[in-house]
Structure formats: C-alpha cells, structure tokens
C-alpha cells in the first residue's frame, strides 16, 4: 500500500473560492477547506464544526489575518480560529482539528486518518 492512499481526493480547484472556504464530507466528518491565494502554501483545512455550538458552519466564516496569523471567524458567534494550528484566539482552551491538505494537479487532497483493521495494514 502506497503512502498516497492516505491522501483522500475531496474536490477540485474549481470548487474552491478565493479568500473563502468550502465544506467537504470525509470519513472523519465535515472539513472546511480555505483558499488564501496571497499565502504560501495557500490551502488550509480545519474541522467544519464550530466547537462552541457543535454546528457545521466554519467554512462559511470570513477569513483574514489578525496580528499576522491566518484566521477564520465563526459565522455564529464570531470567535476566531488560527487556520494553521486550529487554536481559538479568544479561548486558549479551545482548538479545532486541523488537516494536512495539498494540491495534486486539479485535485485537492486531504490527509484523513482512516481507521482500518490491523489485518488490512500491509
């Protein structure tokens, strides 16, 4: 089994929206993918679930930067989350899950931790 099998193709470049986010459904639950073309790398992926309400909305927040960190503001109660680390800026005890993301040609791929029985692992 190659390493690439862990990188799940979730959508294409066409699905992305510059300076904003879209949501994808994965085996690990809903994930928000943000495309900030002014940054390198330009793609970020964090959980789509707002930890304060449990609702799947983070991809619909406004992106930007605060003191140099790339952030998204939850559209519900406006807390900010660092897109690189998942850290909430307003509450240091809260952090959302982050995912590695890469562009493979036209494909956007996410590193999803897939739970498989031991027997299937080569």
């Amino acid at each position: 089994m190659s390493v690439r099998t862990d990188w799940k193709a979730v959508c294409t470049v066409d699905d992305l929206i510059s300076e904003s986010g879209v949501a994808v459904w994965t085996e690990d639950g809903p994930v928000a993918i943000f495309y900030l073309p002014h940054r390198l790398p330009a793609l970020f992926a964090i959980s789509h679930t707002d930890p304060f309400t449990g609702k799947n909305v983070l991809a619909r927040g406004i992106t930007g930067d605060l003191k140099g960190q790339p952030v998204v503001a939850s559209p519900l109660y406006k807390q900010h989350f660092n897109l690189e680390t998942g850290q909430c800026l307003e509450d240091e005890t809260v952090k959302v899950k982050t995912y590695q993301v890469l562009l493979d040609g036209e494909q956007v791929r996410l590193a999803i931790p897939v739970k498989r029985p031991e027997s299937e692992v080569a």
Binding site: V10, I17, P30, H38, N56, V57, I62, G64, D65, L76
Partner: protein, 839 residues
C-alpha cells in the same frame, strides 16, 4: 421626630423638577408630600408644546409617570384645585377637603395675558398655554383657512408655528415695531420678520388692535388703530404671561406691584412657611418667564428644605437659543447694550441671512451680550465668554465673522474654567465632567449616562463632545477612530478613499491604503461601501469573501446553522395568491413560519442547499429578496391608510410601497427601517423608525433617526407638509448623507447623536443645502435605484453562483447530520441539547 407635611401647589415643569431634586436629598424622609395639580395631566414639557400638532402626544411630552410618584411615596392629586390657604391654621382647602401643611411650596406658574380688546370673548379667540388650549385650537381650526396670533414674542412665534402645522395660513400681529422685542434689536427683528415671511407666515408689526368684530369672508375681523383690518377664522392671544398669584393674593402674602409672589433668595415668601418658585414668583422685582431659571429656583428650594443654610437663588441668566419656525434665534445677556459704556460690534449679511451683534464692555475686554439671527453657530462660544467673563481676544470681531473672513474657530475647551456651565438643563459644569472622567467614564456615552448632560434640550451636545474629547486626550486616552488593525481610517474616510479614487475591489483598497489581508470587521464594512458606490452583485467573485455569511448566502443564519428566508412584502401588502405560495413552499420544505415585526413572513429552517430551490419557486411567484440578511433597507411598515381607514388622510400603503420599491437593495452602515402612517394616530409607529412618515391633511411630515430595539429613540420631526416629490428627495438626501458619513454598524439614531451640530446641522445640509451637495446626493441615489437587481434572481439564474450553495462540495446529496428537530405547537424547531440522540 414626626414627619412634616409638605404640600406642593402646581404640577408643571418647575414643580416636578423641584420634586425630582428633593427626592435626591436625605431630607425627603422628613416629609409626607402631597402635590395638587389643577390640570388633569401630569407635568409635561411646555417648551415643546407645538410638537403636539406634529404628532406628539401627552405621553411624549410628559416629564414623568404616575408610577414615579407612587414609587417616591408622593400623594399626587391631579384635577384637584387648591381654592384657599388658611395661614393661621396652616391648612389648604380644595373642593374635596382640608389638608394641613408645615411647609407649602407654590409652583402655580403663569397664565396667558389677554389684552383688554373689545370682542376678545368671542369663542374663536383662544390662548396658547396648556394641552387643553391646543385641543381647543385644533377644534377651532377644523375646516377653516386662516389664523392670527396676537403677540410676536417667543411664545407667539411658537403658536404661529402650531397654526402652520395645522395647515392654516398664519399671521402674527405685534404691537411693537419688531418681532421678539425683548430679545432682539431692530436689525435682528427685521431679518427675523423677513425670514418668517419667506416661510409663509405673514407678520404685521406696529399694529394695535382696537376691536374684534364679525368678519365678512372669515369668522372674525380685527380692526387696527391705523384704520386697516385683517380677517381671520381664529385668534390666538400670546401677548405675554402673568404670574398665577391669585391664591397668594387671597391669603394676604406680599405681592409685587404688577403681580408675582415676592420671594427672597431662599425662595421664601413673606410667610416663612410658604415658598414660591417658577413663573409665579417675583425675585428682586423680576419674573423669570423661562424654564431654566425656574429649574434653578427648584434646585435652590430643594436645598433650602433639606437644611442647606447656604442655598440661595441669585438670579439667572436669561440667554436663549432656539429655532422659531426653522429660523435660528439667539439672545445672550445684555443684548440691548444697557450697561453704561457698552459698545457694539455688528455683522449683517443680508445675502446669507445672518445677523450677529456683540455687546462688549467699555474697555473692550468682556462680552456683555449678543444677538444672533439666522445662524446660532457662534452661540455656545459667545455664551461661555459672557457667563465666565473670559477675556475677549484682541480682535473680538473674529468671534462673529464667518471663518473665511478671518473669523475665529470656536473657543477651545481648555479656555473654559472648571466652573463653566456646559449643560444648563441639568446644571453640569466642566468640573463635573472632569470628575466623572477621573472616576472612570472613558467615552462620551458614559459621561452622558453619568451626568445626564445633554439629555435635556440637547443644545449643548456639540460643546459637550468637544470638552469630553479634549479631557480624554489630556488624560492620554486615545480617541481612535480606526476601523481595525488593517486600516488606519474610519468608515467615513474609507468611503471617501473608495469614491474619490474609484476603487472597486477590497484587494486594491487594502494594497493601496491598508496592511495585511483584512478581517471580519473591515471586510463587510468595505463590502457595504463598495455596494453603495458601485452597486455590483454581492456574489460577484471579488465581493464574495467580503460578506458575512448572511450576505454571502443571502439568508439569515440561525443558531443551528440553518437559514431563514424573508421575501419582500412591500408595505406589508400581499395578495391571497402570494400568501398561498408562501404556505405551499413552507409546507414542501417543512419550514417554521412566523410573522415578523416588519409585516413580512419569515420562513425558518432551510438548509444551505435548499435556498436556491426555494428561491426559484418564490421568484416564479413574483417575490423578490427582502434583504433581511443585509445592512440595507429592511421594510417600510404601513397602516391601512385612507383607502380603508375612517381616519386616514393619505394613502399610506401606496406611499410605503413606493418608498420600499425605491430604496430596496440600498447598502448602508447598518439596517434601515421605515414606516408610513396614514394619520396622526400613528398606527405604523413611524416615530420609532430610521425614517418615519406621518400623513397630514396637506401631505407628509417626515421624522428621522428614530429607533426601537435596545435603545429606543423617538424620531425627530424633520420637515412638515411635504408633497410626494419633496418627501422622496428629502429622504434621498438624508439616507445618502447617512450612508456616506456614518460609522460602521452605526444606526441612524446614534449617527445623529454623534453628528456635530445634530439635528440642526442635518437640516442645514439636507433642507438648506449648506454643503452644496444636495443635487449630488440625489443623483447618487437615483443611480443606485437605477442599477437595482434582485440578488436572488441573479443568483438562481447563474450556475456558477449556485455552486456556492452546496453544503458539501464533494457530496451534493449529503444532509448535515448535526441538525436535529423537535415539534412545538405543530411546527418544527431546533432540538434542545439532550432532546434527541445524535444520528
């Protein structure tokens, strides 16, 4: 110690103010207080009496509530007239009985003087003092054309304004050679007369009425001593006031030669247990016919009764600043230069209609008095020079010259001593303001809340802001107006940058004028500015990332991440067919439905992917987006108006629909609400809206900058009796000026309160076009109206835009598993935590 009986005779503005001050002292617990009022109504604001015809009610004008009296334990007896005072037994009598007193305060006020003219007992000869008088005037004015006010003083001109508001052709007849003879000189009076005539009120000076007889073309004819005459349907006497001193006279108190209860510096009469305050009192042979000196007496009285030995009334400043029929008039101190050696400096611009006169001391060092007509701009500065005896600058004329002619800017806040009075209504000095700032108030709002400054007549608002900003700056508090860390500019400054430089995208703006990449504060603000300037679709590629989720998806996100939908229902008018469509759509998508406060129907619980489908159906049935998600025009609420209502005088529904169609889609710093009422009963509650329109017999009265919600504010009467075109062009200008100059998320009410110069300034800009931008504002609005598009229609027709509404871009059919529902009163609602197991 047993409690003493305190009786207050009279429940007017001054009597009420006295009680307000007394209950703030510890002495209040020494007294059982009874208040007798001849009128059946609670104390109300007589200063703004003419607003009664502009739609204000007694409730709007009332100074307090019956509950307040009850809470203070004060026995309030309205409509029970005191008929006698027995000083030996110390009791007052009324038709209902006798009441003992230890201390008695008379605040009986005054009554209007009716000159002894033959025929003045005619039923259509009236006076102007109480709300009952106004009801009489209103009844008399019904169905007739003309009205005359006898008396060209301050109250007389107010009364003329009231007649004009009632739709009458108004005349003012004055015995003296000029209007407002007490406050103005002949040049000032002449200019005021000219300006008032321009507003359609006829002024007849130097006319002595000899008799009132039956008229030929109207009810009455007034014959004058110069053999001329004037026909009119009703006459309002407003020729001055006389102190209401009958009770005091009857019980033998000392009365002045020309009336008035004689008092000393402690407001005590010739009987040590009886006191008098306000317009019934004669101090140092003077009657004070203004509310501010009455309030000063009331405060003195409260201090005296609470045992303050030093409390004394030592006279009061009779300076006045007011707007009569829309014309600024100011009179300060010794306006007529009666002080020995006084000299005058005059500036008279007949072109602009400004007259200004300064009266200065013999040595030229102090300001003694001033007269202003046409523009009260210099009033605050001049008043401070006079009251605080500040040394005049070397070229004192600069204080009244226009700035372009070398005029001086307003007096700096630092030049004022700590004792300088800033708010005379609530007696707040500069020192009081410094104290509350030192105690922790760190902005204008906090200072207002703490000191009550500027919450009376509001005349000191601009001065208060200057003082507060100055004091905060001195203490190192930076009064930052930057919108966020990315732009060192206020919203207004950003607006100018966008407009002047023709900037069409956020990226250009931040690259050229900001730093970093923006945030959830500046992006929506800039999105709104761009929409106002260029009106491109909110879902155009460059604008999408700027919008809040509500604007991006053109629906309102609710607590569970689903959206609600509000189609536009202009004016609240909807056909049965359209109602059925709403019902069918709601049923098909299982949406919770509720009627909104803005006379529309809100459909809750739609998922992101359902939005375009639902809108496709709504658009096919003729609906448009309602912009409930945007900082934009929401609704124009209306009552049913003259079409159906027995009382309506104009078609309020028609006007509401017209206005809603015109301004729909307009992007603004915050949401905007309108309402249109078809008559003065005001069923549409227009005075609580940003823009309120109330029908009159002659057209529309316009109110601006009202608010409901968290901090209710009644709209200010802005213009009266406008026709349809005038109404629209005035609203165009007000709205466009708001959109251009307001701060981010600033409703019109707060904007107005923070606007330097306030309502007067806004009127100058909009009604008098003082900035010369009226035309430009109207054209800008016209352009926006012309480029309106229903955002939802554009969105559902564009496959690229529809792509945005996929809940999960890789799984179009996947439903969000988090959303759980329960049923309540036969509709679905979001499930509470623990109510259902997650799927």
């Amino acid at each position: 110690m047993s409690r003493k009986n305190l009786i207050v005779v009279g429940n007017g503005m001054v009597g009420h103010h006295f009680l307000e001050k007394l209950v703030d002292t510890p002495a209040v617990s020494d007294f059982d207080i009874k208040v007798f009022g001849e009128e059946k109504l609670l104390a109300y604001d007589r200063v703004h009496l003419s607003e009664y015809f502009g739609g204000s009610t007694h409730n709007d004008l009332a100074m307090s509530t019956a509950d307040w009296y009850a809470e203070q334990g004060i026995d309030l007896r309205l409509g029970e007239q005191v008929t006698g005072i027995d000083r030996d037994r110390r009791v007052v009598s009324t038709p209902l009985g006798e009441y003992p007193y230890d201390e008695l305060v008379m605040a009986t006020g005054s009554y209007p003087f009716v000159p002894p003219i033959k025929g003045n007992e005619h039923p259509h000869c009236l006076v102007y003092r109480t709300l009952e008088d106004l009801d009489d005037i209103q009844a008399s004015a019904k169905g007739v054309k003309t009205g005359v006010v006898v008396g060209g003083g301050l109250l007389g001109l107010e009364a003329a304004n009231a007649l004009k508001t009632l739709g009458l052709e108004a005349h003012v007849v004055e015995f003296a050679p000029r209007l407002m003879p007490v406050q103005l000189d002949s040049d000032g009076g002449a200019l005021l007369k000219h300006k008032i005539q321009e507003l359609g009120v006829q002024v007849h000076t130097e006319k002595a009425t000899t008799e009132i007889v039956e008229g030929e073309d109207a009810r009455l004819r007034m014959n004058f001593s110069d053999d001329s005459h004037l026909e009119t349907d009703l006459i309002v006497f407003s020729a001055g006031i006389r102190p209401q001193d009958a009770l005091a006279r009857d019980c033998g108190l000392e009365i002045g030669e020309r009336g008035g209860i004689v008092i000393n510096d402690q407001c005590t009469t010739s009987d040590p247990h009886i006191h008098a305050i306000g317009e019934c009192a004669l101090w140092s042979e003077r009657i004070f016919g203004l509310v501010a000196p009455g309030y000063t007496m009331a405060r003195t009285m409260a201090s005296v009764l609470s045992g303050d030995k030093d409390a004394a009334f030592t006279g009061a400043d009779m300076s006045t600043k007011l707007k009569l029929l829309g014309v600024d008039v100011g009179s300060i101190g010794d306006a007529h230069a009666q002080t020995a050696g006084a000299k005058s400096i005059r500036f008279n611009d007949e072109q602009a209609g400004h007259y200004r006169r300064m009266v200065i001391s013999e040595d030229g060092k102090k300001l003694l008095g001033a007269i202003l007509v046409g523009d009260n701009g210099p009033y605050d500065t001049l008043l401070q020079y006079m009251l605080n005896e500040i040394d005049l600058p070397d070229s004192p004329e600069a204080l009244i010259l226009p700035e372009s002619e070398g005029g001086a800017p307003a007096l700096g806040a630092d030049a004022l001593p700590a004792t300088a009075g800033i708010c005379s209504c609530h007696n707040v000095s500069k020192g009081d303001i410094c104290d509350v700032i030192d105690a922790g108030c760190s902005d204008l709002g906090a200072v207002k809340a703490e000191t009550k400054a500027s919450s009376g007549c509001g005349g000191c608002a601009a001065l208060l802001k200057t003082v507060v900003d100055n004091e905060l700056e001195k203490r190192g508090v930076e009064v930052s107006k930057d919108i966020c860390e990315h732009f060192p500019y206020s919203r207004q400054e950003l607006f100018h940058l966008v407009k002047v430089n023709g900037i069409r995208t956020f990226q250009t703006l931040i690259k050229e004028h900001g730093k970093g990449h923006g945030c959830d504060i500046c992006k929506p603000a800039v999105g709104s500015i761009l929409a106002t300037c260029w009106n491109e679709h909110v879902l155009a590629t460059d604008h999408v990332p700027l919008q809040d989720t509500n604007d991006t998806f053109m629906a309102n996100m609710q607590k569970n991440g689903t959206y609600s939908i509000v189609p536009r229902v202009p004016g609240g008018e909807i056909t049965p067919d359209k109602l059925i469509v709403l019902g069918e759509v709601a049923k098909q998508y299982n949406l919770y439905t509720k009627i909104t406060g803005g006379q529309r129907i809100d459909l809750f619980g739609a998922t992101l992917s359902e939005l375009p489908e639902i809108w496709e159906k709504l658009i096919a049935a003729g609906f448009e987006t309602g912009h409930a998600y945007g900082k934009a025009l929401r609704t124009v609420k209306s009552c049913v108006g003259s079409t159906w209502c027995r009382y309506g005088v104009q078609d309020s529904v028609g006007m509401a629909i017209h206005l809603e169609d015109r301004y729909k889609g307009l992007r603004a710093p915050h949401k905007i609400k309108f309402a249109v009422s078809g008559c003065t009963r005001e069923c549409a509650e227009a005075q609580s809206k940003d823009i309120g329109v109330i029908a009159t017999e002659n057209g529309w009265n316009l109110y601006v900058c009202g608010n409901g919600g968290m901090r209710p504010r009644h709209g200010d009467l802005f213009a009266t009796d406008l026709n349809d075109e005038q109404l629209v062009s005035t609203i165009d200008r007000v709205l466009m000026f708001y959109v251009r100059t307001a701060d981010r998320l600033q409703r019109t009410s707060v904007w107005m309160e923070n606007l330097e110069g306030g309502l007067d300034y806004l009127k100058q800009v909009v009604l008098e076009d003082s900035l010369g931008i009226g035309q430009e504002l109207e054209e800008h609005m016209e352009g926006l109206v012309g480029t309106y598009q229903c955002e939802w229609k554009t969105a559902v027709e564009d496959p690229e835009k529809r792509k945005r509404f996929r809940e999960f871009v890789n799984a179009p059919e996947k439903k969000d598993p988090v959303q759980q529902w329960s049923m309540e009163r036969d509709q679905k609602r979001p499930a509470f935590e623990g109510e259902v197991e997650p799927a």
